[in-house]
């Protein structure tokens, strides 16, 4: 639905609502949580494979991990979950986890260190998309039985070199760190697939919720696990309904047929916030909106030009107009709420400053191509930038295309400027530091298309080494300072103009409390919700 249609619909609904209040509202039962969400991105619910938002929401509630991010205290970082405690060897390469006693899977089987070892080994051996979160520690299908092993009630992880403990543990809070019930999974193994086919549509966890059903593009139904070691959740049943259209979600919410609507557009958020019994909750998420300048371009590679572009963004103007409520200004590669994230936003919209910098660089009359994918908000940001650039004599030709068209050229280092979005893969600062500020080989032959710094042909200078040092730093506070320093240097020197961080707005009935979508670091949790 385009912007005009949205406006038309929003206006019509607003008018009708103002003329007549809704009929007596229904209400969902006190022990049931009903959520409207777009769940058409769920492709699998196997934690070794799941890498999408809605799928990860399911895993977060169905599976326990060795360590957990507490939805009621996300700032505290990881806390013990199935692992009651852990010890790190002197050389920093081995972490020994002691498992919590008396915990059972939904099947009734006890949770053992053997299950935890199997789960991590399985993820490495299957080598699906998110497997890199584990394999970056040197785990391979060949060595995994030695590097990840159970010994009685302990699980022993041995990495290929010393890493920051916080790095390893943060990664274990990701979906791929979920502990599956080995006996149940292997009972459903077909042709040596380690239960992969079965686990795509079934679950074998020990988390606060059990999966009742998943109907693609329809609904997910969960029921509370009465024997959950942390106590059975108050919401005995959680139903997530796939409701694509924002206006339909709003109607369901205002009628009281759902408790939470997760995908309202700005017009419907504004409308719903005025409705009786509805409140809006904002949470910063991990997605960043950024511009990237290809350093193969002779003019764009000049430090003053890189700096000038950071003053050509109307940060506040966009935030307060077409991005209202959906994005916050953020100029660092670590999203706010991440360990070590900087909250410094030194750049502002300053045409004169940009002009001075361009003059200093000797740039006059530049013409560049900007590639952007066909998404409304991105195109509008591109147009805003195009207008600002025109004021300093830079002609920006916007090329709009599909992901295939634009990303293929971006990955091949062919675009002058790329405008896009990036979301973190796991809840550790390395996830973004390792792509924005890390590029060990800037040659074309390296073909490191997964690294954003490489895609923009940027030799990061000393930042690559600093990123490498930060992932091995054992002391948490020192590590935080290292990332703050890296971001500070990055802001000034990099060819990335990081502009905005996404906000997720949940509209919910006012009796819902403790709702958390997991901020930037993790996914939605249901077990702490009360009504």
């Amino acid at each position: 639905m385009n912007a005009f249609n949205r406006l038309l619909t929003g206006a019509a609904i607003g008018l009708a609502v103002s003329l007549s209040s809704f009929a007596a509202n229904a209400e969902t039962p006190a022990n049931m949580l009903v959520i409207a969400n777009r769940i058409d991105d769920v492709t699998t619910i196997d934690p070794a494979e799941s890498f999408e938002f809605a799928g990860s929401d399911i895993s977060r509630n169905v599976y326990s991990r060795l360590v957990i991010l507490d939805p009621m205290d996300l700032d505290a970082g990881y806390k013990p979950d199935l692992a009651e405690s852990w010890e790190v060897s002197e050389d920093g390469m081995t972490i020994t986890f002691t498992m919590r006693e008396g915990v059972t899977f939904h099947s009734g089987n006890p949770v053992r260190a053997e299950d935890a070892a199997f789960s991590l080994q399985r993820a490495v051996i299957l080598n699906k998309t998110p497997a890199f979160i584990l394999t970056q520690f040197g785990f391979t299908p060949e060595n995994v039985t030695e590097t990840i092993r159970a010994d009685g009630n302990t699980l022993i992880l041995t990495t290929d070199k010393k890493y920051a403990t916080s790095f390893v543990l943060n990664c274990l809070t990701a979906t791929i760190g979920a502990v599956v019930d080995k006996e149940t999974v292997m009972a459903n193994e077909v042709d040596g697939d380690m239960g992969s086919e079965w686990l795509r549509t079934n679950s074998a966890g020990s988390g606060p919720y059990m999966l009742d059903s998943w109907r693609p593009n329809e609904s997910v139904t969960l029921s509370s696990f009465p024997d959950y070691y942390g106590g059975a959740p108050e919401m005995e049943r959680v139903i997530v309904r796939h409701v694509q259209e924002s206006a339909s979600q709003r109607l369901l919410l205002e009628r009281g047929d759902i408790d939470i609507a997760r995908n309202l557009n700005p017009e419907d958020v504004a409308g719903a916030s005025a409705a009786d019994g509805v409140v809006i909750s904002d949470e910063l998420k991990g997605r960043l909106m950024y511009l990237a300048l290809n350093q193969k371009h002779p003019e764009l590679s000049k430090p003053e030009v890189r700096q000038a572009f950071k003053y050509l963004i109307d940060y506040e103007g966009m935030r307060d107009s077409f991005l209202a409520g959906q994005y916050a200004i953020h100029q660092n590669f670590l999203p706010a709420t991440y360990l070590g994230a900087s909250d410094e936003n030194p750049f502002s919209y300053d045409i004169e400053k940009a002009r001075e910098l361009l003059t200093a660089a000797g740039v006059d009359g530049l013409e560049i191509e900007l590639g952007v994918r066909e998404a409304q908000e991105r195109i509008e940001i591109a147009q805003s930038f195009q207008n600002a650039a025109a004021q300093v004599g830079i002609k920006v030709n916007i090329t709009v295309g599909t992901a295939k068209q634009i990303l293929a050229r971006y990955r091949a280092r062919e675009l002058d400027v790329y405008l896009g979005a990036w979301g973190p893969d796991y809840p550790d600062p390395q996830t973004n530091a390792g792509t924005f500020a890390y590029n060990p080989d800037n040659s074309d032959e390296a073909n490191a298309t997964g690294l954003l710094a490489w895609r923009n042909s940027w030799d990061t200078g000393g930042l690559t080494e600093k990123v490498e040092a930060a992932v091995t730093e054992g002391d948490r506070d020192t590590r935080i300072q290292m990332y703050l320093d890296i971001q500070s240097e990055f802001r000034e020197t990099s060819p990335f103009v990081i502009m905005f961080q996404q906000i997720e707005q949940s509209a919910m009935r006012e009796n819902v409390t403790n709702w958390s979508t997991g901020q930037a670091v993790t996914n939605a949790a249901y077990w702490q919700v009360t009504k």
Binding site: L8, I13, T129, R200, H242, T449
Partner: protein, 350 residues
């Protein structure tokens, strides 16, 4: 003629029904092959990358290349198409690239939802559209004709998503007369065992009246909306066919002979437009069975229209092709059914 007679001499001629059957089957095969070929080629040349859809934007080149080969995209197009046809001949539509489920299972889940909605929709369209068109023709220029014209015009010109949302707002949001988005209320999900996949039928089979009533309250609004769009088309076409008949000489003759107006209209004129109406209704029904994407989105109706659209936008070509086969078959079967009805209603077509 003589030549024909000579060449036919001595050859045992096949009974006509066998010839017709062979011709029909041949026609189905050629049409389906053509449909698949065009869809397949469009799917391959469109600027959507199925590999990126699977591996994600940040995958390394080696991962990308591995999946590219795994999908067989490194082979020539014609070879890829050949493999696909071979699989389809074995009733294997492949697995969805994205959710790794067999496409046939997905279609078995979404098509009954569309079938249920479209059937109720076309029922409304016929029951209201045909009489409205007949009345408009008989009372040409009267207020009834004008009302019918406005009804049709609104049906043609109003954006369906807007009308749908307004319907939801008024009948669900404000009046509370009907159920909201979704096929059934949350308390009735999975209550009746799925037999046909159509909840109304399954509830009847299970004799579960609560589920039936709830499902009916959910389907009535989207079905009425689709019915309205069919009504607009059917009523205008009916009016046009009727006007042609009513100006024919046999109608004048019937009137001169003193036949009542009711008999003139319903026993003579309407009887003679049945064949044309069948074509119009079959086309409307086929269009509804393709799935109305916007209606399905607004009403959170998990039908084949939104399934194919989602698959297309996600570059899930196995799902797109599977869905296309089903929609193509629906068109063909409806055509055959229409042909059979022609023969029932029109002796000249036998």
């Amino acid at each position: 003629m003589a030549l024909t007679d000579r060449t036919g001499e001595g050859r045992a001629s096949l009974p006509p029904w066998i010839k017709t059957t062979f011709l029909t089957l041949g026609s189905i095969a050629v049409t389906m092959l053509g449909l698949l070929f065009v869809t397949f080629i469009i799917g391959r040349v469109m600027p959507i990358d199925p590999v990126l859809a699977i591996v994600g934007e940040r995958a390394s080149q080696s991962t990308y290349d591995a999946v590219f080969e795994e999908l067989g995209l490194d082979k020539p197009l014609i070879v890829q198409f050949g493999y696909y046809i071979w699989d389809v001949l074995h009733l294997d539509f492949g697995t969805s690239l994205l959710n790794a489920r067999p496409v046939s299972e997905d279609i078995a889940r979404v098509f009954p939802a569309t079938l249920e909605l479209a059937t109720l929709g076309i029922f409304f369209g016929i029951v209201l559209g045909v009489p409205l068109g007949v009345l408009a023709a008989v009372r040409k220029g009267s207020w009834i004709d004008q009302v019918a014209r406005v009804v049709a015009l609104v049906g043609y010109s109003m954006p369906i998503f807007w009308l749908g949302l307004m319907g939801l707002l008024i009948f669900y949001g404000i009046l509370g007369w009907v159920g909201g988005p979704g096929r059934v209320g949350i308390f009735y999900v999975d209550v009746v065992p799925p037999v046909t996949g159509m909840i109304l039928i399954d509830a009847l089979l299970d004799r579960n009246w609560d589920v039936f009533k709830n499902a009916f309250s959910h389907i009535i609004l989207p079905a009425a909306l689709l019915g309205y769009y069919s009504l607009a088309y059917i009523s205008r076409m009916t009016r046009s066919f009727m006007l042609e008949q009513l100006s024919a000489e046999y109608i004048t003759t019937a009137r001169v002979k003193g036949m009542s107006e009711w008999d003139v209209v319903w026993k003579h004129a309407v009887k003679n437009i049945r064949v044309q109406l069948i074509t119009v209704i079959a086309l409307s029904y086929a269009t509804l069975l393709e799935g109305s994407v916007l209606t399905e989105i607004i009403f959170s109706w998990p039908g084949i229209g939104s399934y194919i659209t989602t698959a297309l936008l996600s570059a899930d070509m196995n799902a797109v092709l599977g869905g296309t086969v089903v929609v193509g078959l629906v068109f063909i079967l409806l055509n055959i059914f229409s042909d059979l009805l022609y023969k029932v209603f029109d002796p000249r077509a036998r």
